[in-house]
Symmetry: C2
Subunit: 312 residues, 2 copies
């Protein structure tokens, strides 16, 4: 793989800095001094743009293929548009219309697959054969993904307040491994906790086992950004000794996190983005009175789903 | 009135800077280059803290009395707590429980009044007689309010991008008059537009008449921060020649603004805060392709009201 380092504007000039919010009212409710590092206002509405842009800018091919029904697809579509590359996003034909439209609006070509008849992975392989010059991008298991997300770790390290703990959602592990790398590269000694849906607690079980453990299938948590079967190999190399722990968050605490962010911090977060708040609700004793930074990973959620959570 | 200038931390050190968001996706939908200056993450969730803190810090009395069922009451309660002063907020007994609780949580004493039997104004006068040493604070018609809100105008003037137009909500006129003052004090030459509910268009009618015109009563717009009978005298002195125009926004465009901010900018705004987006929806031809900054004045809205708007 040829890395191209100078053809395009760098990651730091292109990403939007994370938005830090001192959430004092929500923090009082949770018994911590709380700062939110929210990626909801990042390009395409989630942290995924950091990784997508880094991948698209750094690989030689001018065409990227990826499978994503969510934030990575939008992020990669937009990154490719900025870089003058083309992008095919494989999505299940059952994907929400707004998500399909978002990928198209950001310039991506949507390839719908009937997942009952053919897996997304199989369809990606077909497309890769049809386009041998293309780069097949993983949403998390790639050093370039980790490097892109490390830009967020660098921002956390540079924040004036010193946090006792940083809590970030865990799905495939791309975000947490990036945050660990970014903090280490910056020389910051912060404790990083993962927040994972209890329904898909493969990363927590992997930490306990000392090796990667997979879920039986895609876990049907409301945190749709964490519906991964297992963490990636590249991510595991960072997570196994870089995480201080993983909090396994029940579904009702994820929903409560969405509601509390809305009511006490005026923040619209998607369920996956609320996992850190859910972690504080699940294990309050672990963080009592500490200075905690919760990474809010994204804000893209269907209005009907969000209204349903608010009304529950 | 004795002004105290040095006893307390200054306004600039105490307020949170506004949060600027480049809302490119929402801007494309609206046909403008759009920046949001959102006060939803300000202390107590709205711009009102700027004015409340300035009033509470600058007047001599240690007790403040104000009538507010909304953001100003919370803001004044919190400002007084920070300054070691006491605060009585007169609220209708029919106020939403969450609003009463918020004022109490921020340290205010809530005085509930049966508005069918006694007006809020009459109750404030009673309290003022009982506490002759107290300062009775207006939420908008006070030079100290305008001066506090001018801090936002200074921030807009200092933003790197040069806006063709700034649009801000108009209720009593405290925000827009402050923005005009702050921009003028900074030497910035920006066009400022007000965004007012059509249901309570007293400010627009005042501009046309050349003098203050009042609504017949409190207009029942969903933009509850703009349910004022008329602009204040002090505000009018700034508005009459400082505004480039006022857009009168129908209720359905206010609601659509809330939905678009949610869906295309991941921002939770209260209906009053969405008036600027409603203005762009109402008079798109006036702003076509311009660089526009919409001030999102606040984010405090009941979850049930918000869910109802999303579901409509």
């Amino acid at each position: 793989m040829t890395l191209i380092q100078s053809r395009f504007p760098g990651l730091r000039e292109t990403i939007r800095p994370t938005t830090f919010i001192e959430a004092s009212r929500l923090g009082r409710r949770l018994g911590v001094r709380l700062t939110l590092a929210t990626e909801t206002f990042q390009h395409t509405g989630s942290f995924k743009f950091r990784a997508a842009y880094n991948v698209a800018a750094r690989v030689a091919p001018n065409r990227i293929i990826t499978a994503s029904s969510g934030n990575f697809g939008q992020a990669m579509a937009y990154a490719c548009r900025l870089l003058g590359k083309s992008c095919i996003v494989v999505m299940p034909s059952t994907s929400a219309k707004v998500k399909i439209e978002a990928v198209k609006e950001f310039g991506g070509e949507v390839d719908l697959v009937e997942v009952a008849a053919k897996s997304r992975k199989a369809r990606v392989e077909e497309l890769a054969c049809a386009h041998p010059d293309a780069y097949v991008a993983s949403a998390y298991d790639d050093p370039l993904v980790i490097e892109g997300n490390a830009s967020l770790g660098a921002e956390l390290a540079g924040y004036p307040a010193k946090f006792d703990a940083v809590i970030a959602p865990v799905g495939g592990g791309g975000l947490t491994s990036g945050v660990i790398k970014g903090l280490r590269d910056s020389g910051a000694q912060l404790r990083i906790f993962g927040a994972e849906p209890l329904l898909g607690n493969d990363a927590a079980r992997s930490l306990r086992a000392g090796h990667i453990v997979a879920n039986r299938g895609e876990p049907q948590t409301i945190a749709d950004g964490a519906r991964t079967v297992s963490v990636g190999e590249h991510n595991w190399a960072w997570l196994r000794d870089g995480l201080a722990g993983i909090v396994e968050v029940p579904e009702d605490k994820i929903r409560e996190g969405v509601r509390l962010l809305f009511s006490l911090a005026n923040l619209k977060a998607e369920p996956t983005g609320s996992l850190g708040i859910g972690a504080l609700l699940t294990q309050p004793e672990s963080f009592q009175d500490a200075s905690v930074c919760c990474v809010i990973s994204g804000g893209n959620v269907d209005p009907a789903v969000f209204a349903g959570i608010l009304s529950a």
